[in-house]
Amino acid sequence: MVELAAAVLIATGTLFFIAGTVGLLRFPDIFCRLHALTKADGLGLALIALGAALLAGTPGAVFRIVLIWFFVATASATCGHLVARYARQSGAGGGAP
């Protein structure tokens, strides 16, 4: 039962990653791509981490997975903000004011 739940979680996580890549390729300007990217890989990784945590038995592994997810979530949010600010300052991405 747990394996089935983990499999479903990991599958949906992978779908989010694929959506993130499609968003990266198809969206017109940098801000849409940024939006697609940080959402998709943030949530995608969260689901995969949850699936992996279900499969991993020892509490040590589960704690490390949660730590990794938390660090990646905050880091990708901050970096998304930094790139957006840099893109706006350098006048890129469709000349948004």
């Binding site: 660090f71 880091a75 901050t78 903000h81 930094l82």
Partner: protein
């Protein structure tokens, strides 16, 4: 039924070779560096697939992280100095007297021959040679640590690791001779989001670095990987100019550079006192000695890598000097 993991290996191998070709052939220098960073990322995954997590840690932290940041800094310096900062693409600077095409093709041909020779040698070699794993496994109980790679690095081949720390010391001495001067670049406006993240993440990274150092005794990790992670904190502080190196701090920096080598050599020599050869740790103290050396070497590596990234000796130049990034 082909094992799907083999398909993953084939895909990864093709991606690594394609990225290697792409990063050397793309014209824009910035794309070259980004492709190199992704090449390093995928090659670290390849190390993991070859069940070498220690090498993957070292490749990710040092081989791609510090090297990638160094390359970005050098590219920025090229555009800052040549005044083409606004320009989006910085193309490769072709030298004054370009090498004629004939010589380049000849070189490429010879390299092809060398690679062919390597290929023949690799395919002809016996599948699994004897190797050292039996010897190491048998000697592990006397090494004082459980993880074989750390045992090899810090005990059986400790002399080689000492020389490696000396190489790092020599590199930072060379870099401080090459480049001098204070950088007057303005502090980048990082914004509150970054300050909040930095206040949360930097201490966490220091904890992860120390954890990597400690776990090295029984699992992949150790002095170099831990030192590289701590150096990453130094890089972030230097980049966001939270810490600007001052001439007064040079004494402390020099002490930290030499600390790793000095402690390693001192322990090696002192241990040789009681009728033992150098580097032959007494069995009951082996683990504590190894961890003592690893701790000091980690600190020294972190400061050295950060200084290598900063790239210049922070001393005020008399004749006006070069002030840039």
């Amino acid at each position: 039924m082909t094992d799907p993991l083999m398909i993953f290996d084939l895909l990864l191998a093709l991606a690594i070779v394609a990225l290697a070709v792409a990063s050397l052939s793309v014209r824009d220098l910035f794309s070259m560096i980004v492709l190199f960073i992704i090449f390093g990322l995928l090659s670290a995954l390849a190390w993991v697939r070859l069940s070498a997590p220690d090498v993957a840690l070292a490749e990710a932290a040092i081989g791609t992280g510090v090297t990638g940041a160094l390359l970005l800094k050098t590219l920025h310096h090229l555009r800052y100095v040549s005044g083409t900062l606004g320009q989006q693409t910085a193309l490769g600077v072709t030298p004054v007297a370009p090498v004629p095409m004939g010589i380049i093709l000849a070189n490429a041909g010879f390299c092809g021959l060398i690679t062919l020779g390597l290929l023949v040698a690799f395919l002809g070699a016996p599948a699994t040679g004897p190797g050292f794993d039996a010897l190491v496994a048998e000697a592990m109980p006397q090494s004082g640590v459980e993880h074989p790679v750390t045992g090899v690095l810090l005990n059986f081949r400790a002399y080689d690791t000492l020389m490696e720390v000396v190489v790092l010391l020599a590199a930072v001495i060379a870099v401080w001779q090459i480049e001098r001067g204070l950088s007057d670049a303005p502090a980048p406006v990082m914004g509150e989001v970054w300050q909040g993240f930095a206040r949360l993440a930097l201490p966490a990274i220091v904890v992860v670095g120390t954890y990597l150092l400690w776990v090295g005794a029984e699992a992949p990790g150790g002095a170099f990987q831990g030192g590289a992670v701590l150096a990453a904190v130094g890089l972030l502080l230097l980049l966001t100019r939270a810490y600007i190196p001052q001439p007064a701090h040079r004494g402390v920096a020099r002490g930290a550079f030499v600390l790793g080598t000095a402690a390693f050599a001192l322990v090696a020599i002192l241990v040789a006192g009681g009728g033992r050869v150098a580097f032959e740790y007494p069995l009951e103290h082996a683990k504590t000695l190894i961890l003592l050396i690893e701790g000091v070497v980690t600190l020294s590596i972190a400061v050295t890598l950060a200084a290598l990234f900063h790239g210049r000796e922070p001393v005020a130049l008399s004749e006006g000097g070069r002030h840039d990034t």
